[in-house]
Amino acid sequence: MNRGRWSALAATAVCLASWAALAWAALGPARLGDISAVYALGAVPLGLGWLLAVRAPGSPVSPALTWLAASMLATPAVESWGRTAATGSPWWGSAVMSVIGAGAWPWQLVGFMALLLVFPDGRLPGRRWAAVGFAIPVSALLVNAAFVLTMNYHDPQPAHSPVAVPEPIWAPLLVGALLLLLAVVVTCVASVVVRYRAGDDRTRQQLRWLILAAVVIVTLMVASWVVTSQGWLGPEAYAGFLLGIVVLLPAAVTVAVLRHDLFEIDRILSDSVAWILTTAVAALALALVAGGIGYLVGRDSRAGLTGSVFLVALAVLPLHRAIHRAVARVIDRDRAVILERVQQFVEQVRDGSAEPESVETVLRATVSDPELTLLLTDVGGSGYVDLTGRPAAPAEDGVRVPLRTADTDVGLLVVSPGSMRGLRRARLAVTAARLPIEVSRLRLGLRRALHEVDESRRRLVTASAQERRRLERDLHDGAQQQLIALGMQLRSAQRRLPGAHPVNAELDQAVERIEHAVAELRRLANGVRPATLDDGLAAALARLSADSPVPVDVDVELEGADMPSEVLMTTAYFVVSEAVANALKHARAQRIRVTARHSGPQLHIRVSDDGDGGAPTESGLTALRDRVGSIGGLLTVTSAPRTGTTIEVVLPCAS
């Protein structure tokens, strides 16, 4: 068992003895009859002290709490003991106790002061502060002694101090002791401030619990004072204040030690302070305004009162906001900084100076967690992807925060394991950055969808090219072949006929028809897919000009380039053939020029004529445009009247 436990045990013994004494004094033969429920509440700090002793062994807050309970209970116990002297059945030593008890009240503060000094981890803010640790009991003892020594002068009841202090000394003695006590109390409070300023995140957060309790207790005290001074309530108004001290403070320090990041203490504290300040300012303003208006329109004017309430109400909301912001900046600084940074980023995204995809980097910097990762739900897939669209799995040891918008799973925030506070910060930041995250996700989805459309179009075009090729072969190797074989059979039959046979001429005719049919089939097959493409795109384009009634200059240089794919060749061929046909049909061109060049990963084709120009740029070229678009190419038409038409096509070679 460590020292803390022994200490707690001793304090508990004191508590039990005090309770017994109080109960015996009230209900026993002495019949003091005055027992307060407040004494029962002493069980709260005692119980919490023991809870800490079990759950956080070694924490100095545990004995501090138990001694807080002990000092709270022992003081009235000693007082009661002393008071039995005046009853019919005085206890043993009650006379001495009544003397001591007359100045025992400072001991009730000892527990609080000790708590302030050692909270939260028992380390003193510095070496010199050890003196304060001694000063606490010493100052209490001194005040107690001073009261005892001077009781003859200030106690309303006839009392007898064991040592008579000469009259000129008692006042400075008493005042000096009280000043010392006050100084120790102030120093203890100062220790909290010093520790807060020097402390790390965790210490500060634990201290915030204490500060929250202190703020509430002070507020309750002020409120109680106002209520009683106005005569609205009797001393019972202080019950809240007492509860604050006995229940709220121990509870707050217990939470601070055990689960310091149970709630968003920064925010609670900040909100509470802001609320209290607003209320105070509003009350002050109401008093001033009401006073001012009352002075102007008459003290009991109903209109004056309504008007002042109205005026103050108008001011309270903006006032509250301003106070809230100001307080938040001081108390809950992290939160304010995070919100400000993320907000700044969101605005940058909005005005286009930042990419929404950089949200992860911004979040990492904002919450200072380089391990933070943002994963998005794969649109149209399962699992998660990172912001570049690559599939990604959340880190095993990371803490996962699901991101949702209404019913949609937007993604997952993975932060490195740490405090609840860090997690809350990350949550806050990610909520503020919801917009860029959603935009990133949608952009990713859009890119993916476009990519898929592109892919499927590519597949369709390739399939169609293959189909054309197959069809062309079927025509050549199937029908055409069959027809020729048929013709040969006829010729063979013809050979066996006598030369002058009348059927001869008929057979000649039949074979001629077959020849026509074969030529026709060849023409058809050529339309499906020009067989000349087998000789390469350059040869096919050159051959194209052979069928033109006007000169077509074909200037094709594709050397050094890889053999273009079937799809690219067919597309290029048909684009040129269609453009040439258009020039012949609509533009009354006299000369047509076709150039084709490889330029990096692109094939540039240009078909220009010296015709009428003024070609329809849209409707008439839809078929051409679709053909070019089908493999992701670009088509531009320049066609001013009387300057001819130029069609320029850029085809990506990867298709």
Binding site: D477, I484, V518, A531, D534
Partner: protein
């Protein structure tokens, strides 16, 4: 003549065999696969080989490639390529070598012309389909644009393998006129004139081959 036929379409092959046999030629072997052709050629050493361009195994231009392989072994081997459609990629290298013909398949139906062409090729001459000549000429169109229509006709006929006399008869002009045209053609194409008419054809085609395809 002893003939080897390489043709994958059974109907056409049988028709061709029959046609040649009935015309008094001797079909010593038929193959339906370009890969089997060199072996058959080595075994039979035919006077002429009739080869389909598009054949198994790849059904693209296996026949033409087989012809080039055969020529690599036997540069003098007469070869007649048959094709369903005009394709010049492989024939260009061969047209200038002589003893070579390249016809569209339906020319077979003009039996007399076909046999004539076959005989010409077997004898070391050439026989090119007018359409294929046209295709070859288009390839060199930019330079040939200098030729007149008549000169074009003459050159085309020359390229098909006809002699000056035959061309004169076809165009119904005198042989002298044809000779004049030929001289003009060579001049315009900047070719040195040689006494042998056949060589002149080859010279033209060699020139065409040098054109970017």
């Amino acid at each position: 003549m002893r003939v080897v036929i390489a043709e994958d379409s059974v109907l056409f092959r049988e028709g061709l065999v029959r046609l040649l046999t009935e015309s008094g030629h001797d079909v010593v072997a038929t193959v339906g696969d370009a890969d089997a052709l060199p072996a058959a050629m080595r075994e039979h050493r035919p006077d002429v080989a009739v080869i389909d361009v598009r054949m198994p195994p790849t059904m693209t231009d296996d026949g033409a490639r087989a012809a080039q392989t055969i020529r690599a072994d036997h540069p003098q081997q007469p070869i007649l390529l048959l094709s369903q459609h005009v394709e010049t990629r492989h024939s260009v290298n061969l047209v200038s070598t002589g003893a070579f013909g390249y016809l569209l398949k339906d020319r077979v139906l003009r039996v007399a012309d076909f046999l004539d062409a076959l005989t010409r090729v077997a004898a070391g001459g050439s026989a090119l389909d007018p359409q294929i000549v046209a295709a070859l000429l288009t390839s060199g169109r930019s330079l040939l644009a200098a030729l007149s229509t008549r000169e074009h006709e003459v050159l085309a006929l020359t390229a098909e393998g006809h002699s000056n006399t035959a061309i004169a008869a076809k165009l119904i002009v005198s042989e002298r006129t044809v000779e004049t045209h030929m001289r003009s053609i060579f001049q315009r194409l900047q070719l040195a004139e040689t006494p042998d008419s056949h060589r002149r054809v080859l010279a033209v085609l060699t020139y065409l081959r040098s054109q970017p395809m």
